[in-house]
Symmetry: C2
Subunit: 394 residues, 2 copies
């Protein structure tokens, strides 16, 4: 078994008495009968399964552009384990040399690093004027420089128009500004919640497209639950429902749904939007709301940015770290933060994430008793320096 | 100038108009006259300086055993920059080979690593049954094993009785169980606040021996302030005054005192007792109260300990991490935490420190939206796994 599979259907069956049927697709939910219609993809047979409790954990699907050629040889997406295996096999077949990544989000950035390390020519095409829209433009510029330094060609503010094909295979990516020769293309344009099945059955969806759930992960239909990338979560800073297609959120929601279905009591209060990615030598992390996001949520926001060191300045390996803190100028409430830095920088985001959960102000945070020792931090952790600067503007 | 000196007296004078007089010792504080008596150590002359505000920042002194031979050649302590320079010079003079460190606290452990890396024979003598009393015995045992693995000889439950001297130099360390040949001895037995000067002047001291201060860092005498290792701080978990001789606390207290003296408004709410140290390949961190400390403070406490990984299991460099969480069984309030682990483990303590400041419960912490990406963490951060396990015991 692939070591990335945490638990096989056999283990579910033998150790936990859970009948995990893979290669079965649910095609309809009947809330009257409290039953689902299931197709066995192996035999093609349809059956009906009744339920007392139903958990919808249908995940998310890759967003695909509406252009021809998506099924051409050499055009890939990355979501399932199978899609990863297929891509790896294509890479191993010495053929492709020129890789074009469409989309400069997490997938695009992580792939770029991996392809460069394996010696390919890599280009990224991104419609936005910056990479990684989940951080601000000034910090994204650091990533763009890092990508270029490592040999990645970056085409910002260009949108995918189509492909040039030859004999059923891709030959080039066509943008609104150029034609990029490509042996292999990966589309990383984000995902959307798989909520159609729920929606068709009459289970209420939110404006986000995700399934509406309460803190217990129950939908508006009693005994019908939803968790993971198909379900909404409350953003604890904006107090608005969001869908973050992240494994951490899915894991926590699934645990809460499972406890409640089994008769226990658990709640999932919500998320603060924490995410991380490694881009060559930079660690990138973000949490809460960017200024732009705060404004969209009707919250007045201001930001400060500081440059510091990951360790005591004199200690070997002390690297750069940029910390941006976003806060409410009126009351000093922390709204979010972003970090770009070298080794040891990224996980500092967790202090900001924890402070967001606790609703702390930047003034309260100045005196946080964070860990210090020269191999790990300057005496004033960069997070505290940023908070000090933010508090100075109140 | 030594690069470890952040700001010289000249810079204080020229850039900030601060008359920083080094080599001057204050010998008495006269609260009636509101003046201090100062000896110029260069000329021996005594002068009197009047004050409107007085800040006492006298730091801490090394605790010395009451035995003869402390002034012998080869017997060192480590506190000031000068003592470090003297020790380094002794090391560089090819002479000493056998080093005995007395005390297995932060100083002893850090010195052991440095001396081993420079090729010396290193022994540690420690009175307690474990190294590093600020973490629990089970975690300390991991450090003891690491020290031994790296060639450090460890003599626990042995107390220093005296030295064997020869021609004015140390030849051996005598404990209650053996005589250890030694060319160089370093005493690392902790520090105590330098509060005599304040005490003699009638400025109230606490039971800790530190100078009593309020949140603004003012002593019980108006216009007389204290900050740093000579001053008390409120422990935010036990709600009792403590003296932690740490640079982080001193820095924060000094800032608050300075702002208030200059007419501003700032408060230092207190500490949670966070500390870190690197011991060869282990990162060690602690915050809040150990079970033992909680009991001393009259708080009922329980603990859980988990073993996890610093990164996704399949990611290169995924190391071990042990997380212990101490909490109140009644209401689930987090009381403290301890971490021992490989690269990337230690700074995770900051999540626990922040949660202690915010007064969070282990149940609230289960759903903290901490950063995840395979190079940085498993999907369930080890901190969250420990919180989950603690919450399961409520």
């Amino acid at each position: 078994m692939n070591p990335l599979i945490i638990r096989s259907p056999e283990v579910f069956r033998e150790k936990q008495n859970i009948d995990a049927r893979v290669h079965h697709r649910v095609t309809a939910i009947d809330l009257q009968k409290r039953a689902v219609r299931v197709v066995n993809l192996g035999t093609g047979k349809t059956l009906e399964e009744r339920f007392d409790h139903l958990l919808i954990a249908t995940g998310a699907s890759i967003i695909l552009p509406k252009i021809p050629g998506l099924n051409a040889r050499g055009v890939y997406t990355l979501s399932t384990l199978q899609s990863g295996i297929a891509l790896r096999e294509a890479m191993d077949q010495a053929g492709p040399q020129r890789i074009v990544l469409v989309g400069a989000g997490y997938i695009g950035l992580e792939m770029a690093e991996n392809f460069i390390q394996r010696g390919f020519q890599v280009s990224i095409v991104e419609q936005a004027p910056q990479v990684m829209r989940t951080i601000d433009e000034d910090l994204a510029a650091l990533l763009a420089a890092e990508l270029k330094k490592n040999g990645v060609q970056l085409f910002l503010e260009e949108s995918l128009q189509g492909f040039e094909l030859e004999g059923g295979g891709v030959r080039a990516v066509v943008t609104d500004r150029r034609t990029l020769p490509a042996d292999l293309v990966i589309l990383g344009l984000g995902v959307r919640p798989n909520s159609e099945l729920a929606g068709e059955a009459g289970i209420p969806l939110g404006k986000t497209g995700g399934i509406k759930v309460n803190e217990r992960m129950e939908t508006e239909i009693e005994g019908v639950w939803a968790a993971g990338n198909c379900a909404e979560a409350l953003h604890l800073v904006s107090r608005r429902p969001v869908v973050f297609a992240l494994g951490t959120v899915a894991n926590k929601q699934g645990r809460v749904a499972g406890i409640n279905i089994a008769g226990g009591q658990a709640t999932f209060p919500g998320v603060v939007g924490t995410a991380m990615v490694k881009v060559f030598d930079w660690e990138v992390a973000r949490t809460g709301l960017q200024e732009r996001e705060a404004k969209q949520a009707g919250i007045i926001a201001a930001s400060v940015k500081i440059e510091g060191r990951t360790r005591a300045g004199y200690y070997p390996g002390a690297g750069k770290i940029f910390v941006k803190i976003t806060f409410e100028p009126g009351n000093g409430r922390l709204l979010g933060g972003q970090i770009v830095g070298q080794e040891g920088a990224g996980k500092r985001i967790d202090v900001l994430a924890t402070a967001l959960h606790a609703g702390m102000t930047v003034e309260e945070m100045i005196n946080l008793d964070l860990g210090y020792s020269p191999p790990f931090s300057p005496a004033w952790d960069p997070i505290l320096i940023a908070c000090r600067q933010a508090a100075g503007q109140l």
